[in-house]
Each structure stands twice: as C-alpha cells, then as structure tokens.
C-alpha cells in the first residue's frame, strides 16, 4: 500500500519530468528557428561595376555577383559539401579550401566531395537597391 508521501513523491517526479520535456521543447524550438533564409543588401555601386562581358565577378559578403548591372546574377559562396566559403579563381571557377571541391563558373560541382551546385540567390529590385535572398 502506498503512503501519502509516496504519492506526493510520484507527483513531484512526474511534474519534474513534464517540466523537463517542456523546457527541452522550448530550447529545441528556439534553436530550430535558426537557419531560415536571409537577405543580403547589394550595394548599388558594386552592381554598377559589373561588366557583363564575362570578366571577373565581384564577391559581396556571402555572394559572388556576375551578369550585368541591369540583370545581375548571384551565386552563394558557401560550399555545398560542408559550408566552407569557396574562393573565386582567376579562371572564373571556384575552389573550396577545406576539402578541395571545385565548381565551374556557373557553380556546377566539377570535382571533389561536393555533389550539388553552388546555390543561386534570388535577386529582387526594391527601388534603387538589389536584394539577394539566400
């Protein structure tokens, strides 16, 4: 036969367990909320510098801009293998300094452990400014 003390002990234990699960859930939810898509403001003077003749593009934060001032294109510089920042090469290709993945000028994976192409940012013109969403 269980005593009143045993019963209260059980209540405390279950309450503690429920609060722990609830707390973990709150922490989990707040942590999982990270990593949504973000916007990058592209300075208009940089966009104006795009030559559009297939020459060198311009690295802006996490992006690499090519194309023309009226129709810019932006590739993410984040390697699709494990997220290192790839380096633009003089040839127009990209190289990852962490595990040696290579991408061509269109961002397609050509060698190394990366399989997926570099992400292409969605560009949107807002007034005079270009906004990239990655």
């Amino acid at each position: 036969m269980s005593s009143r003390r045993d019963f209260l002990g059980e209540v405390w234990r279950w309450t503690g367990a429920a609060l722990s699960v609830l707390g973990l859930g709150v922490v989990w939810k707040s942590l999982a909320a990270k990593g949504e898509s973000r916007e990058v403001d592209l300075p208009s003077d940089l966009v104006q510098r795009l030559s559009g003749d297939g020459g060198q593009g311009i690295a802006v934060g996490p992006l690499f801009l090519t194309g023309t001032p009226s129709a810019p294109k932006a590739l993410s510089l984040e390697c699709t293998h494990l997220g290192c920042r790839v380096a633009p090469l003089p040839s127009g290709a990209f190289a990852c300094p962490c595990h040696g993945s290579r991408f061509d000028s269109e961002g397609r994976a050509t060698s190394g452990p990366a399989r997926r192409p570099l992400a292409r940012a969605v560009l949107e013109k807002r007034g005079d400014r270009w906004i990239a969403r990655i």
Binding site: L31, G35, C84, P97
Partner: protein, 290 residues
C-alpha cells in the same frame, strides 16, 4: 560491475593505470589556469585582433597563449596514452559502469573544447573550421541543425556561443568528469610540475599559428588532432564526420565488460580506426601540398 569492485580482492591488488592519467590532470590544470589568464583580453566580437593584441600588447601574451594551446594538446596526448594504458592493463573494470562511460566521454569533450579553441582564433583557418563543424553537426539526422545552433549559434552569429562553450560548458564538464574519475582534485605535485614544465618548454620553443596561412596553400588545415577527420571528409560522406568519432567512443566504452573475442574485436577495430585516422591525416597533408 559496481563501486564495490573498486576494492581489490584479496591477493589481487588493483593496478592503477594512472601515470598518464595523473599527467593529463596536470595538463588540464595548466590549460585552465592559462586559459583563465587569457579570458580578460579576448573579445569574441573581434577575435583575431584581440589575439593579435594579446600576442603583441600584453607582457608574455604570446607565451601565455602558447602555454594554453600546448598544455591543451598535451592533455589530449596524455589522455590518449592513458586510454591505451587502461586498455593494455585491463583496468577499466575498476570503475563503476557510469563512471567509466563518463570518463570515456572526456575524450570527445576535450576534442570539442580544442576545436572550439581553434575556432576562436577567428582567422581564415578558424572560420573554415567553424563552417565545417557547423556543416558536419547539421548532417546529424533530426538533431543536427538545432545542435549546431546550440554549439555555434545561428549562421553568421559570431563566436559568442563558441567562446561560451569553450571557456564554460566544456571546461566545467572536463573538470567535473576528471575529478569524478580520478577521485582527487589535485593530481599531485610531480605530474603537475611535469605538465607545467612540458607546456612551458613547448610554449617557449614553438609558436602557435595565427592569421593568414602561408601563401600558396590551396587547402586550409584544421587543428592537427582533427586532420584525419578533415582528410576523411574529402573521400567519405559528410556523416562520416560524426559517425566515425562516435564509433571510436562506443568501441572504447565497450571495452569495459567485453572479454575474450569481443574484446579482441573491439581493440582491433580501434586499432583500425587509429590507422585510418593516420592515413587520412596524410591524405589531407598531401592535398594541402605539405
């Protein structure tokens, strides 16, 4: 086996395998003290410049940083040798199961603390290491992205979370688990002096790198204990980055209670992992042109 088993049976005295264990406690003490001395001068929001200020702006700053780094690497080496010692002398049974598994957890905890310390440099190699750490952790099914956010903060959120875990979470856990395992707070004068002398010698002779890597290197190298992992990730799927270390920890933990062919198989698998780690270290060094 429970705590009672810590008491040796009559006629078969326990054989502590603690010489390198005590040495690792000494290295831990040096690492914690030198780390505490660095904390007031380090700024996670301006990591690289604050480390450059430490190196050139405060008396013995570069030496202090070297002392912290080399004592931490000394701790890792002493811990690995201690694990080999324990496996060779079969003394793992002297610990209760829970204490043994928590002692085994010291190894991955220390590696995480070392990786955190490397990331806190804030230079190109450190940023790349942080990216890989985040990418690798995120590849853990289900728990990956939240775990990465917990360890490193959100993408683009700076080094605050890494600094907190390096100086706080991991260090505190290392101390708690070490004290629980060794059952002493002070490892003794001899191992402490030996660890201090080795760390001082290394800090005086060897510079801890900081800033841009030497020109002409196409691959940025991570911390040297993890070069095997970096090499592995060139050829194996990203999930190998956590599956292989986890397998190593589970194999080491399973030694307690394993006997006969099972123990031999676990030891053989651990030896194969170590050999693979060495081979992949060589792989990444070759790729980096060293």
């Amino acid at each position: 086996m429970d705590r009672e088993d810590l008491t040796p049976a009559a006629g078969s005295p326990a054989k502590p395998s603690g010489s390198f264990g005590r040495l690792s406690s000494g290295f831990l003490a040096v690492s914690l003290l030198s780390g505490a001395a660095l904390v007031p001068h380090y700024d996670p929001a301006a990591a690289l410049s604050s480390l450059e200020s430490i190196a050139s702006g405060i008396p013995l700053g570069a030496f202090l940083r070297g002392l912290h780094a080399w004592s931490s690497y000394g701790l890792l080496l002493a811990l690995v040798v201690h694990a080999v010692e324990v496996a060779r002398k079969r003394t793992e049974g002297q610990l209760a199961a829970g204490v043994w598994w928590r002692a085994v957890a010291l190894l991955p905890l220390l590696v995480l603390a070392l990786l955190g310390g490397f990331v806190l440099r804030g230079d190109a190699e450190a940023r790349a290491a942080a990216d890989v750490w985040r990418g690798m952790t995120s590849s853990i099914p289900g728990a990956g992205p939240p775990l990465a956010a917990l360890l490193l903060g959100g993408p683009g959120s700076g080094l605050g979370a890494a600094a907190l875990h390096h100086a706080g979470t991991f260090s505190i856990l290392l101390v708690i688990l070490t004290v629980e395992h060794a059952r002493v707070v002070w490892p003794g004068t001899r191992p402490s002096v030996l660890a201090a002398l080795a760390s001082v010698g290394a800090a005086g002779l060897l510079t801890v790198p900081l800033g841009p890597p030497p020109p002409g290197h196409g691959v940025l190298l991570g911390p040297w204990p993890l070069l095997g992992l970096q090499g592995m990730l060139v050829d194996l799927p990203a999930a190998a980055g956590w599956i292989v270390p986890l397998a190593g920890v589970l194999l080491l933990g399973s030694l307690r209670g394993a006997a006969g062919p099972a123990r031999t198989a676990a030891l053989a698998a651990l030896a194969a992992l170590a050999a693979g780690w060495a081979a992949f270290t060589l792989r990444i060094l070759v790729l980096a042109g060293h």
